[in-house]
Amino acid sequence: MKIEAEQIADILVLTPYDYRIDASSVADFKGQLVAWIQEGNYRILLDLSQIDFIDSSGLGAIVSLWKLLSGKGDICLCGIREPVMSLFKLTRMDRIFRIYSSSVEAVEAMKPAA
């Protein structure tokens, strides 16, 4: 899975370029993100704007990343399309993440207050 990374201030914006995160791609997806975290990137914005569908293994991977960062960092989400958002709501995962409509809005919100 191709994941594009962009550093904005102390925020690492990660954008997976695939239509789906599912059983066939989740290991790769999770592996790449864990590597970014292990390199010391503790403030992550996951831009899901290219994703059409995430199955429960994909959602589980995102939750495990959230747990990995728990206490030492932050992971926010943005650009979630409606079909994917409905799965976040179904699982109630929408309640544990700060979710923004776009990366611009998210980066602005994640910046420390001046």
């Binding site: 059983a23 199955d55 429960s56 589980g60 799965l87 699982t91």
Partner: protein, 819 residues
Amino acid sequence: MDTTALEPLENDPKSLRESLSRHLRYSLGKEFQSKTIRDIYLALTLSLRDRLLEKLLETEARYQAADARRLYYLSMEFLIGRSLGINLTNLGIFDACHTALMDMGIDLEEVREQETDAALGNGGLGRLAACFLDSLATLDYPGFGYGIHYEYGLFQQEIVNGYQKEKPDHWLSKAGPFQIERTEESCIIPLYGRIEHGLDLNGNYNPMWMDWRVIIGVPHDIPIVGYGAKTVNYLRLYAAKPSSDFDIQIFNAGDYFRAVAQKIESETVSKILYPSDTMDTGRELRLVQEYFLVACSLRDIIRRYLKNHEGFDGFPNKVNIQLNDTHPALTVAELMRILVDEHSLEWEAAWNITQKTLAYTNHTLLSEALEKWPVSLLEHVLPRHLQIIYEINHRFLGEIAVLWPGDTDRLNRMSLIEEGAEKQVRMAHLAIIGSHSVNGVSALHTELIKTSLVPDFFARWPERFNNKTNGITQRRWLLKANPLLAELLSETIGSEWITDLSLLRRLEPFANDPAFQDRFRKIKQANKEQLGKIIYQTTRLKINPDSLFDIHAKRIHEYKRQLLNVMHIIHEYFRIIEDGIEPAVPKTYIFAGKAAPGYWAAKQIIKLIHNVGDIIHKDRRVKDRLKVVFIPDYRVSLAEKIIPAAEVSEQISTAGTEASGTGNMKFALNGSLTIGTLDGANVEMLEEVGEDNIYIFGLKTSEVHEMKQTGTYRPLNYYHEHDSIRRVMDAFWDNRFCPQEPGLFRWLYHHILEKGDDYFHLADFQSYSRIHETIYTDYLQIPVWNRKSILNVARMGKFSSDRTITEYAREIWDLTPVL
């Protein structure tokens, strides 16, 4: 292209012929010269579908313009039967179509025989749902059915050596193209998984439903046209398909066989209709089926609502959901989950909406048929729903504890959870608590719900309980099933009865009219002769069309007491051969019905019917004065041929066991006289037709109840006191009806005499025999019999499903016709 530019389809014979020819050529790719009768059936169905869809779109536009309140009828079963004939009738093009085909040298009846029954139901409950859809559309109500697109309907029944053999009913392979697959409206349904407990961003408890698996619900719409074709609603049936993960896994993971196995597993969900009375097998799949129906339906209902509305405050004003029995009771938990989890409503607000939206129809008094699901199974399949059910229960029991302080027995009785070695969720309780209306399906049944089945709930919410006596659609069960009688009625009193069955009362003055009686009787005779041919075709038995046709057609179940009927037949047989008493009239006893594949006793009763018939038919002393026939593979299309030929209809369930019955109504509407107990809707039929025109026998519900409570029913006493009973029971012991298989029916001897005779066969036997004697006396007085028969037709107005639906609409759904 602007669809408004399309010319409306015409319905004259020429236009229909052109439509048919066009479909034959362009949809099926056939030249007229090389057509088969099957091709004509398909082309005709496609021609009709065009017309149905045109009206369906018009109807939906009307509902949209009115922002109509809608009724969604959720049912695991819709026993539709065949659709071609009723669609032709309701569209008002039966005659035009007949002419169009005749001009092409084709017989419409032959074409109609090409259609297979859509047997997506077991019996009364499913057929009721189908009758309701016909009435909803005829009365112009925005009412829609939601069910499962079973690949296999109820099994086909074959009889081999007197035993029922089940064959799969792959109806889809032969189904006509009335239905439309709406892939674009498919929905994702999660199942299984686990709950991850945690906190949300605000520090509140946040259970997350993780690691679920997904199946896809693909809707198939069947248009339902009302009589007069002003309204076409739909029946939406969901098929289960695997998610598109399947393809991905094949190509990416390389594990082809596992992927295929998962695909098959997903599709299994809508593979088969469960026969009733098979609660112990395949429970998990059945639970998944029930949730699949509920989840797909709610997703669709909410999607439609949110297209034109914001927020959920107005949801109950626009949406009514009727739960047909407890099978869709998970709707309570699923609607709560959607409102609370997916739309972030507060619990109280969501609960208020849920209760206002849902209504529940109870269909059974048999405690073993009240659904319960093991807590462990629910937790495995639907972990989040179990949490919600626990929360509902916690709040509900808190309320009961305040109202009845210190009454722990009451709390235990009312709890959603039944304690015990294996904790179970009581689905009827869930349905009652989550609904604003709970109805029974006959006056007696509703009283028994209040007083015996769930009296604690009645004490809590007396205003919630109400009765809606079942009904049947006269369009299928008289107009279409009995065209000769329908024509006579319309000629005599006008055709308005087709949409207002109460007008049949206009027949009463003709009940004594010899000329009318004569025509009425000749029609019955013609129907008997037609059934006689079917019996010969299916069983190779020749029956006397001048004999009295006494018919017992319904599911085979101990409570419906086919056994009592057989015992009486044996009694009559012995009277001929041992007592030398000639029967007053030659009689043909006709049975039809399926036993659930796993219901051993019911299947043995089918075998008994066959063996008794064989012995009687081979006994020359009987001289054809007694015949016993079992017509195999009872289904809607067969019922349409059996019922118009009946002269006596057996409705003889033990009092207090049949919720309503609808077969009783169908038979009486076609001029059959009922021999029945005071059970279900028989009670109201007695009120309508009058005691001179129905043959009531047996114990009343209160008497059965009393005898059960006090333990005063002792079958052995009846055995010792009555020679006739003893002779019949001894015949079971002595292998009189199974000389080749000794011991085959001894279980009946034990079952009845030693194990308590749960359904009171012996208690009612004498009374049943006596009422038969009365019937024979009356039958010989032809004008008297004719009058009774005509009055039965005339006084069946109450039992139209139009009346039932009007009551539901007015008293439960607050629904108005949209024209």
